[in-house]
Assembly symmetry: C2
Homo-oligomer: 502 residues x 2
């Protein structure tokens, strides 16, 4: 693992809309040993225990506290933010090593950010993108018909046809209940690769092009994911009044990569956590959740919490590793065995300036092959220093992840120089990586994927509370699953669920 600097925790911004949360701080009783299964572990009581201090858990906690309920948040890591992570690049500036983009219809994360004093800025997107596929190298602007998708003459007709077909299906897709979609059983018994083969003129070409997209978006290959999951994911790229589209998911301009958060995405979690104050406990991995007819007992390595309800706001594959008593219903456990995390690494090179901008380039490239499949300009708002980031996902992650760090760095920088035809990329002032598959408390990224058969058979267990256990996390969101907005939405949903029950 490469070293990662952490930004210091920011102080909650007094006077913002989030002040109510501060006023509602409950008192947490912490006493040693009483009624704890591990006699030496301190205990606490609260209305609600929240497992995971990512955006989902923190949003749930913030909402519950605002409604007057007491909350204890248990976070396994030594930091908050989950799959968002700021990396210091000096002079008080950061580049994100995890989730970072926001865009149209992602109003929930944007509103939460504003409440805690975090604004947005436009992702740099001026100039031309580069597309490299074998011997073909094309510069193109995403202001054209295809947006971020490349105008490859051999694939143009298929790109338009397939994206229209997907958009049509996504437009009437029941995002909260994918198993009720038209032809759900048929779509869920095949992979995206199979569907492409049945609907393309140049299937091999389309599948090769799709790989860097699915690698970056979900850390997987077109042959790994259920086509129903893909439809659900695309349909999820919208809101209650704007049906999800392929274009909104993929594009920068007008899409999910349009904007960024000032100060880095992790600051939202840090500010929410600061407002929650001592209710947020770091270094407290939760090992066991017991529930009775009247309460839940949540046992972490450092604190045992007794509460009326518990929010589990971690990815399904990690939720599966908690010990539940009584056992979860079979369908829920089997679901959690069927939603693996994708494989994703982010690599970033820092340069004194984003010199590619002067050459009329956005910094975005899309290429068939690796290590990096998709790159983008990840510089701070003022463009100093310049940061070029890239995704190494799916098979590229599996191929490059185990190799020596120095070899991987050399390959990434050589690829940057080759694709941009500019040797300045070979000499960054800093280079850093974040391989989410190595993170104990994520074990992959950016999100969970569903293979065939999962959503139609096990999907109903994704969001259904099990007694006093409520499931949050971006994977459980109807809109923008896999994104920060979905995480925030899921936190809001469980806060409403629990608020109604308390």
């Amino acid at each position: 693992m490469t070293p990662r600097a952490r930004t210091s925790r920011r102080t909650f911004l007094a006077g913002s809309a989030g002040t109510a949360a501060v006023l509602a701080l409950p008192t947490i009783a912490t006493k040693a040993g009483a009624s704890s299964p591990t006699t030496a572990t301190p205990t606490a009581t609260a209305d609600v225990a929240v497992v995971g201090a990512g955006l989902a858990g923190l949003t749930a906690a913030r909402r519950l506290v605002a409604a007057g309920h007491s909350v204890v948040v248990l976070e396994a890591r030594d930091r908050v933010g989950g799959r968002t992570l700021n990396h210091s690049i000096g002079a008080g500036k950061v580049a994100e090593a995890g989730g970072e983009f926001v865009g149209p219809t992602q109003d929930h994360i944007v509103a939460l950010a504003a409440e805690v004093g975090v604004g947005t800025f436009d992702a740099y997107d001026t100039g031309q993108n580069i597309y490299v596929n074998g011997g073909q190298r094309i510069k193109y602007s995403d202001t054209g018909l295809l947006g971020t998708a490349p105008p490859d003459p051999l694939l143009l007709v298929d790109i338009i046809k397939l994206s229209q077909q997907i958009d049509q299906m996504a437009a009437k897709f029941p995002v909260a209940t994918p198993w009720t979609a038209p032809n759900a059983a048929k779509h869920d018994s095949q992979t995206l690769a199979t569907w492409v083969r049945g609907n393309s003129l140049n299937a091999d070409g389309i599948l090769a092009l799709l790989a860097p997209f699915t690698q970056a978006l979900v850390g997987a290959e077109p042959g790994d994911v259920s086509f129903l999951f893909v439809l659900a994911y695309v349909a999820s790229a919208g809101d209650e009044t704007h049906p999800g589209t392929f274009e909104r998911l993929f594009n920068v301009r007008g899409g999910a990569q349009q904007s960024r958060l000032i100060g880095g995405s992790q600051v939202v979690s840090e500010n929410v956590a600061a407002a929650l104050g001592s209710q947020v406990h770091l270094n407290t991995p939760v090992r066991r959740i017991e529930q009775t007819a009247t309460d839940v007992t949540v046992t972490s390595d450092a604190l045992v919490v007794t509460a009326k309800h518990v929010v589990v706001a971690v990815p399904p594959a990690l939720a599966a590793r908690i010990d539940y008593a009584p056992l979860l219903p079979a369908a829920r456990d089997l679901l959690s065995q069927r939603l693996p995390m994708g494989a994703l690494m982010k690599v970033e090179a820092v340069y004194p300036t984003p010199f590619w901008r002067a050459d009329g380039l956005t910094g975005q490239f899309l290429t068939v092959g690796g290590p990096v499949g998709y790159s983008f300009d990840n510089s701070p708002p003022d463009g100093a220093p310049g940061v070029l980031a890239g995704f190494v996902g799916g098979v590229q992650n599996l191929t490059w992840g185990p190799r020596p760090a120095a070899a991987r760095k050399a390959a990434v920088l050589a690829q940057f120089a080759r694709i941009f035809k500019d040797d300045r990329f070979l000499s960054p002032s800093e280079y850093f990586e974040m391989d989410w598959t190595l993170e104990e408390w994520s074990r992959g990224g950016p999100t969970a994927i569903a293979g065939p058969g999962t959503l139609t058979q096990y999907g109903p267990a994704l969001r259904a509370a099990v007694g006093r256990i409520h499931w949050a996390g971006t994977e459980t969101s109807d809109y923008w699953q896999g994104y920060m907005d979905g995480a925030v939405r899921s936190g809001e949903r469980v806060a409403t669920e629990i608020g109604a029950a308390l």
Copy 2:
């Protein structure tokens, strides 16, 4: 859960080939507190710690002890045998509630059974099977061309064609390295359902017929599993000199369901465990495995074992729930997120006699629909009492598992009576069920399944030791994965691996 009687542990049979194991019994030091992370937990030391006292773990322990190494086996349950389980039906007789059949080329389980004094007998297979599909009801003998597969006139041509195609591919399949198979990438980017659709005259009919087979065999639907996994599974149904075939996998006569073990399959594990004596610890779920350059520390709820090597002989989805320090390599952890257990329940009705035999029936039926998709005569060797057993797997398990036990029992017995056209099936002297999805220490059954993309990308991590951690369990076997024979083979393999290293 229905109550389950347990057979008493049998005494090791002196004089059998297994006596060597008794002679090699090492002394296990058990002292309170010394160098234990949980100060109150007793500790032990041994050459090898084994996690899981199913056939895989017990075989490994037995082999290692026979080679003169000391072993401690940690079993989470209050019994040994893993996915084998004897259910008492009175008068000292049993019917198996878990894995039970053995057949040609399954020489490893048969040899182990013989070593511990357990012989085999022929599964009852005299007379005619019944096939019901919609309004169609056919009686047929499995001595015909198709074996256990039904002679449905609408599907006959496809059954012959598809099974021949699969057998041809299985014949040259590299069972230890499925990702190197011809066209592995293509096969692994599609489901079995997709392959059937591309190769059948009557795909809908074949898929409907395949469902009860895949439900019973792997607890899943044809649309859930990778076609490469299916080829690997079929190819696995053989040995080093007999390539696996579709027929050997499915058939009773000459196939994997040909024989049973006298006294019930669990007795093999019980006898092996009895020979290991106090080295086998029940009620010791393993929570954590730490390894250093020189040893491993295996922490269970009741005992902490320090050893040179550890064998993890539990399904991958359960291995994922152990806490490893240092963390497992990414590919191994991601693999364990991608091998979910199937969903399978066994239902069994006991009658004073197997009265169907007098009517010229084997007791086997195959039907499209549920609750039961496939039934068989599970009576003791002497045919008294009569036991009819059935599999409720895949979507049938998900549908029927959550319903009230009384409703499920009524539906099963009504289905038996309807299919056999015999109301005597409505009044068993006993009825019992075993839903493996409700078992904390299996969380599904009968085995793990692989969806698309798993074997080609993550397969190499299935068997590869991680330092001093060695992976056993039927899922890791080259031949007869998913079967008792595969479990025994996997235990033998890790014993050889570790024996070479000690």
